[in-house]
């Protein structure tokens, strides 16, 4: 335990200017694993939260296509489908009326 604490402290001291990224907990659901593995490789998952729930299904599709085509994210077709389904179901606007 003490060794772990020291290792943790050393890691913190080695990167004094790195942001201390706190875990972002997304809604549980099918596809979450693919979201965490793919989307989370390049950016924190709060990007998804803040862009919700106003995005329609077509807008989520466009965002995923942008990540693959413009930003070069190596997302397999199967994962892309799972991610799209997850985002539409949990963070999309098709079934939500946002408060103004």
């Amino acid at each position: 335990m003490r060794a772990l604490a020291i290792a943790l402290l050393t890691a913190l001291m080695a990167a004094p200017v790195a942001a201390e990224e706190k875990p972002v907990t997304l809604k549980k659901g099918p596809g979450l694993e693919q979201v965490e593995a793919n989307c989370g490789a390049c950016h924190s998952l709060d990007y998804i939260q803040m862009n919700s729930p106003f995005m329609a299904s077509a807008t989520w599709d466009a965002e995923i296509a942008k990540m693959i085509n413009a930003f070069g994210a190596p997302i397999s077709e199967a994962d892309a489908r799972a991610i799209a389904d997850y985002l539409k179901a949990n963070y999309g606007s098709d079934h939500v009326t946002e408060n103004r």
Binding site: L8, A11, L12, A15, P16, V17, A18, A19, E20, E21, K22, P23, V24, A41, C42, H43, S44, D46, Y47, I48, Q49, M50, N51, S52, P53, F54, M55, T59, E63, A70, F71, G72, A73, P74, Y91, E98, N99, R100
Partner: protein, 414 residues
Amino acid sequence: MINRRTLLGTAGVSAGAALAGASLTLPRLFGGEAEAQPLSLSKALPQGLRDSATLDALPGKKPLIKLAYRPPNYESPVEYLRTGITANDEFFVRYHLSDIPQVDAKTWKLSVGGDGANGQAAFDLDELKRLPAVEVTAVCQCSGNRRGLFHPHVPGVEWGYGAMGCAKWKGARLKDVLDKAGLKKEAVEIVFNGADGPALDKTPDFVKSIPVWKAIEETTLVAYEMNGGPLPHWNGFPARIVVPGWTGTYWMKHVVSINAVTKPFEGFWMKSAYRIPVGKFPVVARFITQETAANTPITECVVNSLITSHADGAPVKAGSRMSVGGISWDGGYGIRVVEVSTDGGKTWAEATLGPDAGKYALRTWTYQFIPQRGHTKVTARATNAIGQSQTAALILNPAGYHHNVMHSVTLVAA
């Protein structure tokens, strides 16, 4: 391929977990009161942002409103924007890509060249500081400041009001830096790259260009000081480009290369991002080598103002004279007048402007009036020296830039 900083970021997740649950309150700055206030965000922002944003302090910074951890996107609470100068530790932070090295001032090098230059030049920090120093007070504002207030919402970083600040920037003229390499008359754009990069090799690096005419203005700088101190890491240490009047996208942080080019720069962040529809906004400064029939790069900031003395819904005393105040700015023509309405826009009265720190600086303003019992909607409207005023109705555009709708707060007098 995954880059170095992605791995560090992952380590940060577990290290940071121990710190989760930190206080989400901010000491109230106005009047030096010690009481704490919960983070209150505009109801016009996306619900998902309102639920996920927190107050979080990056190393060396006071608590800012965290929109995204990685890449870090943090805005200043409006309380930090009550003065003409924004403190370094209160200044907003915006990155596009998450591989952000800590640059060592001793080994930092700036290389200057390109096919639009006669030769090559290189500077270390001491050499840069030996060029004549220029200081300019200028607003640095993200192109997408207030994007989160667009209705309908548009995707992106859902900024509220605080993706902006004003500082005294000191550095060498970009013109003098370019002269060391020799600028050819055929050069059309100056291209900047910084030390930060993408997590994946295939992601386009963040590289930006500006037209030569803007690059050689007297106050376009390679800045190494901010408000009398070194640039904070998060604001571009050890040197960044300063383009007074133009939005923050061109203010390259951790700048390591400057290239003059004879053909328009083709990178993703110029050709596809940071573009506005042609003819929709009343901007004077054009970036002609990058224009298409449909759209054009964003350039100068549009005229704007913000009420910073009171939050929406703030309680005040009925029947006694009080002061509201805030800030105003534009793309470098200078603020001519700020007017305030306390009757929903039927009548307007001139506010008193604060000190003039130059045409690129924030201009503070105050307005005194006596609120009657009940709700009073206070609205501010700035007009610049060339007669441009803020808009009453949002000018829609796909990426959510240039939000300068007049700001209002409702005061509750009892």
